[in-house]
Symmetry: C2
Subunit: 277 residues, 2 copies
Amino acid sequence: MPNSKKRYAFIVSDRTGLTAEAMAHSLLSQFPEIDFKTETFTFVDTAAKAGELVKRCHSIRSSTGHSPLVFLTMVNEELRSQFKRAEVEVFDLFDTFIGPMEQRLGIKSSHTIGRSHGVTDEKAYTSRIAAVHFALQTDDGMDIEHYRQADLIIVGVSRCGKTPTSLYLSLHYGLYVSNYPLTDHELEQKRLPEALQEFKEKLFGLTIDPFRLLQIRQQRFAESNYSTAATCQREIAQAEALFRSHQLPWLNTTRMSVEEIGAMVVNRTKSIRGVRV
Amino acid sequence: MPNSKKRYAFIVSDRTGLTAEAMAHSLLSQFPEIDFKTETFTFVDTAAKAGELVKRCHSIRSSTGHSPLVFLTMVNEELRSQFKRAEVEVFDLFDTFIGPMEQRLGIKSSHTIGRSHGVTDEKAYTSRIAAVHFALQTDDGMDIEHYRQADLIIVGVSRCGKTPTSLYLSLHYGLYVSNYPLTDHELEQKRLPEALQEFKEKLFGLTIDPFRLLQIRQQRFAESNYSTAATCQREIAQAEALFRSHQLPWLNTTRMSVEEIGAMVVNRTKSIRGVRV
């Protein structure tokens, strides 16, 4: 019965669903044998919308024999209980912890909706947006005269992931992150590019498996000299040698997501240099 | 006793801590009377690191009378139990659900570490990176000849949040998102700019409170005509009139975070046009 390992999972939130999605994916990934068909429902904030979903759960149960696993984050008691009353298989990601927290803190929770992704601190928010603009302005070696303002300068060869990493760090952590490409010519010199020498303590190197780099480069510039195995191998070896000789913190990003790279850069940066996040 | 409402909260993860952080902030925001001092500890993956944290919990309890609330996401049983044995106040965000899930699914979980933010699907990952490059390439009205490839084109006046929204949608959802600024001149015309007319079904409008826009613009170009109350008010009124007359989906972003704007755009887009995410 190949189909017996296929299950539905619904992620249901009264707001953006971002937290619920992250949690649910983390939990579901612990059951790799099962082929989950997941669907996210956001802004489920009325009894009608909740009722619609309960109906879908029942109809899936009728046709497959299994109710979907429902991962809920909802503040409204009444909406939550619509699911529970209906004998749907609910994992209440939120309410499960609110009770024990109330007990330990000795006060009642406010039961207000979706505070976590809203703009609670306007200053912090504005500075995240400013950080994104800074990252764009100083992307790919542009506007090096602003490096004094940077919290971090990501360095690495072309297409190793510098731009998405810089943007993620600015969007998520509000850091001022520039990035600077190590080009063929500069790598041949075997020394830090002029523009970076003054800012050694802000540098963070990214590297990647040469074969993965080759794949990425070939997708864009199949015919170029830049996309040969030999070039990729040489550039990566030279970049890593440079990181080592200057004792820069660096990271191999092969098979890491932007989120992981970002968290790891911040983790290392905090312990190495105490940048505030 | 003003200090009695101050409490420590530790977020402890064996990986990036992103999921744990989102959940913990969502839970803590339900207790607005308490001034939580939160700290996140990522990549806590050895007994030594866990032991260090347990010690800190005990020392905080000695000095404040309260143990920190510890929000854990850890796959390793042994590390988790270091906290539990030490009588620290643990909220186990992960393990709390694994048991009930095993029961309902009828199989054991794999207990493998941090799958959720890793690159599990290389194709999906590469396409997110490609989406970021597309968003950069078609930022702020550039490269309009690529609009045929776009999933969405964000439109709005200058500094209303188009760029961060486009980047977030591309990074998080892998959507191909362009953005196009509605300029003074185009707004006066009271019709859709030439470049957009062919792609009406891909347009999504952003607007913002004129006073908030004024603040943002003044931070950058204090002296310009562009940063007067009258200009902001007129531009926003004209942009909203344009959205209405063309029946574009649109959103007022005042006081919304990029995450909320992103989730809401996707939510509306799904239901309106069935873009696949």
